[in-house]
């Protein structure tokens, strides 16, 4: 049990990092990584949504889809749950954390189409269909892995603006190449798997 938990945490956070190894959530990773502050905010919002989504989709899958033999509806049901959750988080933040709400702006509704969120729910029902705790843990730590990658990237990109990058490589291309170099670094973690 304890070893299983440590292994889930390590793989979700580092060895199978969602952005760097699994290529999930690339759009926000490249789109919202220009400033460290917004990157942290985005990471937190995604973590919140992914944790809630992991919990809700596990419950719906276990107690609705499996007993009624409706597994083929998984994709549709999960994306609706996620869209609903994002709407809920948006309303909640508007009331209780207006400063963070305005800082995230347009990116908040876009979490619905972040493939990391739908990806984690689909991976959970594949890998941990029987364990609520493992699903929730995987959701939370995969999201923290996303946050780690996007914050590191934002730190690099803030400095990149002042460097002499060739004109045609400014912006997106150099960001992709930077991400590639980061991915090489993340490959170094692959020995950690238990």
């Amino acid at each position: 049990m304890a070893i299983q938990i440590v292994s889930i945490i390590l793989s979700a956070l580092l060895t199978e990092n969602f952005v760097m190894v699994k290529f999930l959530g690339i759009c926000p990773f490249l789109g919202v990584s220009k400033k460290v502050e917004t990157a942290v905010g985005m990471g937190m919002a995604v973590t919140f949504v992914m944790a809630l989504a992991s919990a809700f989709t596990w419950i719906v899958n276990r107690f609705l889809l499996i007993p009624f033999d409706l597994l083929y509806l998984q994709t549709i049901v999960f994306i609706l749950i996620i869209a609903g959750l994002v709407q809920f988080v948006e309303m909640f933040m508007k009331k209780s954390m207006p400063s963070l709400y305005s800082a995230l702006g347009i990116y908040l509704p876009l979490i619905t189409t972040n493939c990391a969120v739908l990806g984690v729910t689909l991976l959970n029902v594949q890998n941990y269909p029987d364990s609520f705790i493992y699903s929730l843990l995987y959701g939370i730590f995969a999201a923290l892995g996303f946050t780690l990658a996007i914050v590191l990237m934002a730190g690099i990109r803030e400095n990149l603006d002042e460097d002499a990058v060739p004109e045609s490589f400014r912006g997106f291309p150099i960001a992709l190449i930077t991400a590639g170099l980061m991915a090489i670094a993340f490959m170094g973690f692959s020995g950690f798997s238990i």
């Binding site: 760097m20 190894v21 699994k22 290529f23 999930l24 959530g25 690339i26 759009c27 490249l30 083929y72 509806l73 998984q74 994709t75 549709i76 994306i79 609706l80 869209a83 619905t112 189409t113 972040n114 493939c115 739908l118 990806g119 689909l122 991976l123 060739p166 004109e167 045609s168 490589f169 997106f172 291309p173 150099i174 960001a175 992709l176 190449i177 991400a179 590639g180 170099l181 991915a183 090489i184 993340f186 490959m187």
Partner: protein
């Protein structure tokens, strides 16, 4: 092109080249990077996304006057998810090898930004015929881009194209190109090169 009259062919070419979803609009990056490890995967992913895009564009265009404005995004997502589920099931039934190598990324077509972006920007404002042309153009533009990237990565990273070995065992292929870092770097270099050529062309005119 707000003033030009939209014809089926202009809409099609627009999607295929001028506003290529991958190289110009930079949409749908996750599948672009994740499945382009071999030409077969790239083509399979591109064609699956194209099929979903055409179907969802036509249906959304037909329903554009019925869907209330406030819930339109949710409605679009449900329509797209329904088509993706159909594609997912047919791939599993008819092309099980492809389905298993694309894996998670088939259901993830639902959240491919290209499809939602075309629904919102084009299909919700235009006739079903034009929307179908737009879906076909954008879809093939996406497929073409995936094929280029995956051919380069397969050639450099595995020494093969479409599974056929091109250089013998004398030269070891650079495996890193088909691993995660290679995806980022190849795409970055490609977009940079395209920007460079585009800038050159503009300078010549």
């Amino acid at each position: 092109m707000p003033d030009e009259k939209k014809t089926v062919s202009s809409v099609f070419v627009n999607g295929l080249l001028k506003e290529n979803p991958t190289f110009v609009q930079l949409l749908g990056m996750c599948p672009t990077l994740a499945v382009t490890t071999s030409l077969k995967n790239g083509l399979g992913m591109g064609l699956s996304a194209t099929a979903v895009l055409i179907c969802s564009n036509i249906l959304i265009s037909l329903l554009r006057k019925l869907i209330p404005d406030k819930v339109r995004i949710a409605a679009y997502i449900v329509i797209i998810a329904a088509f993706v589920t159909m594609i997912d099931m047919s791939l599993k039934a008819f092309l099980p090898d492809l389905a298993s190598s694309l894996g998670l990324f088939i259901p993830l077509i639902v959240v491919n930004c290209i499809i939602l972006a075309r629904a919102e920007a084009f299909a919700s404002k235009n006739s079903p015929v034009l929307s179908a042309a737009d879906g076909l153009g954008m879809g093939l533009g996406f497929t073409g881009a995936l094929c280029i990237i995956s051919a380069i990565r397969e050639f450099l990273g595995a020494g093969t194209v479409w599974g056929i070995a091109l250089y013998g065992t004398h030269i070891a292929p650079a495996t890193i190109v088909i691993m995660a870092p290679g995806g980022f770097i190849v795409l970055g270099l490609l977009i940079g090169t395209i920007n460079f050529i585009a800038a050159k062309r503009k300078g010549d005119k």
